[in-house]
Subunit: 334 residues, 2 copies
Amino acid sequence: MEDVARAAGVSRMTVSRALRSDGSVSDKTRARILKIVKKMNYVPDQSAGSLSTKRSGFVATLVPSLNNLHFAESIQALNESLEIIGLQIILGHTDYSTSREERLIESMLKRRPEVIVLPFDGHTERTVQLLKQVNVPVIEHWEIPPTPIDYTVGFSNKAAALEMTTALIERGYKRIAFVSEAEDAWTRGAARRAGFIEAMEQAGLSAHRMIRYGKPPMSIEDGYQIGSAFKHHFGDADCIFCVSDAPAFGLLSAFKEQGLAVPDDIAIVGFGNFELSRFASPSLSTVEVDPRGIGRATGELIKNLLGRSSDDPPIPRHTAIDFKLTWRESTKNP
Amino acid sequence: MEDVARAAGVSRMTVSRALRSDGSVSDKTRARILKIVKKMNYVPDQSAGSLSTKRSGFVATLVPSLNNLHFAESIQALNESLEIIGLQIILGHTDYSTSREERLIESMLKRRPEVIVLPFDGHTERTVQLLKQVNVPVIEHWEIPPTPIDYTVGFSNKAAALEMTTALIERGYKRIAFVSEAEDAWTRGAARRAGFIEAMEQAGLSAHRMIRYGKPPMSIEDGYQIGSAFKHHFGDADCIFCVSDAPAFGLLSAFKEQGLAVPDDIAIVGFGNFELSRFASPSLSTVEVDPRGIGRATGELIKNLLGRSSDDPPIPRHTAIDFKLTWRESTKNP
DNA sequence: TTGTAAGCGTTATCAC
DNA sequence: GTGATAACGCTTACAA
């Protein structure tokens, strides 16, 4: 910067001002300076800038895993709205582990993020404590936690599963099985399961057909394994509700091998609505969620949080993102 | 930090040393300091540290899109090896656009990354210029560019497609069609197409059955659309080679609707080997690549680049990542 | 419109 | 083993 200033015959301060549209610099000087900047290929050092302005330009963002198109899409949408306002995501994946989440947050805090975005799959006590005292907006996304730390963007996984289960019961299914992970640290999976159980009980039906297998995220392979042994365990089930679309694909594949007809012998529904769900055969009934919507809404929220003057209207704590039930060939529909 | 120092009755310098395992601090003082740090929940500011040490701890990482499990997995693997050595990824997606890539690089340069990792889908002149003069290791991944900037990790997409095509020809297919995007900015897709064409020509076969559709990344839907009109355009084809697995799934779906048998009426192969490829029906023959391997190898390379003393053995410019042909039910195999 | 001085929170360096 | 001092590259606050 010194060099640029010298070359332009001005002080560093003027260069600094020219570089941000901030200051009042005469158009002539600014033009001259910018030309020199281009020529010298000067790139300002944002760490140094942050140190002065106390604004890092970072948004610490955690997702359970990138290895899931939904989270990846959501991040991509978030990123798109953030880069417009000059914010950079620093990304981490929790691998569905609360202790990993805690470690990541500790390390990201060193970067002085202006906002922290993270999923709710349970938090350690220390995580909550860190988050509360750090004095930065915290956004939990993809689920509505029982006791939110600050802001939330997402939908109730329990309500969604409840709605789907109720709709299945209305369609005449009574002996519904639920497929989810064996390890329960994954709270959103547990929420879906709870929704299923509640709906069954409300209808006076038994929710004992529980298949717990593997750890999150469930894969197609997991579903295939479950499908291969399914009739052995719950031969009387008339429908299977999967905690995500992935194992549902595996079940479809396994049942096809066994000559079981879907939905005539048994119905299958998933959760998530991956692109493939429309093209599977039979195509998959599922709970449709809106990953890009979550990312976008999170971006909007951040924009509001950081761009506000003190007497703007208050910002709502929760942004609801819609889900909806999508019916396809894997269930018998009215 | 000042506060911690005062509470511990030492100077800031001693706190700084205690915090990194760097200096020579007596075990007693260090223990005392660390206890106070914990209690006061002090988190050092890495921007300030970077300013002093000239080490940002950042790795600028670009991928074409996160909306593709392969890139997401690769990033996740890279991230896992980087966090061990205390490096943070700053992530961007180019959306297969070289001008977007240029903008992203310019903005990331402000963070003073210690390494730059990016895909090769062509670069603008200015990108190359920026990258060359920035004096930071540059790693191009996922493809071997004709003129690498610095280091490369990946495989030749052209060679892979050539090998697959040759193998198809050996299996007796002669009227092979190739499905890829209409927009050709995407160099790796073009490389695959070039491999296909070269193999066909080597065998004295015609490579005129070219379907160009949509823009990268090709989706299942794209494949479905192509499949719906396929017989109309190339009714005599005996095999379709898709630039990625995604459109291949769409083709399978469309052909099933039309009552076309795969592979008896027509064979289909993909590129990528997504998890689903094993479970599709028929399961999909494809070129198997190793996204996590690319991520891991990139991580290793970075570790070597940053951790070297001047007289270590030189680091190879290129790290080859294997691909292999995987044969399943969607082709007639010997 | 421009410049000067001080300081952001850390660490390198050298002295004790 | 510990401390004082001067950077690091920028911006804020004020002065001209």
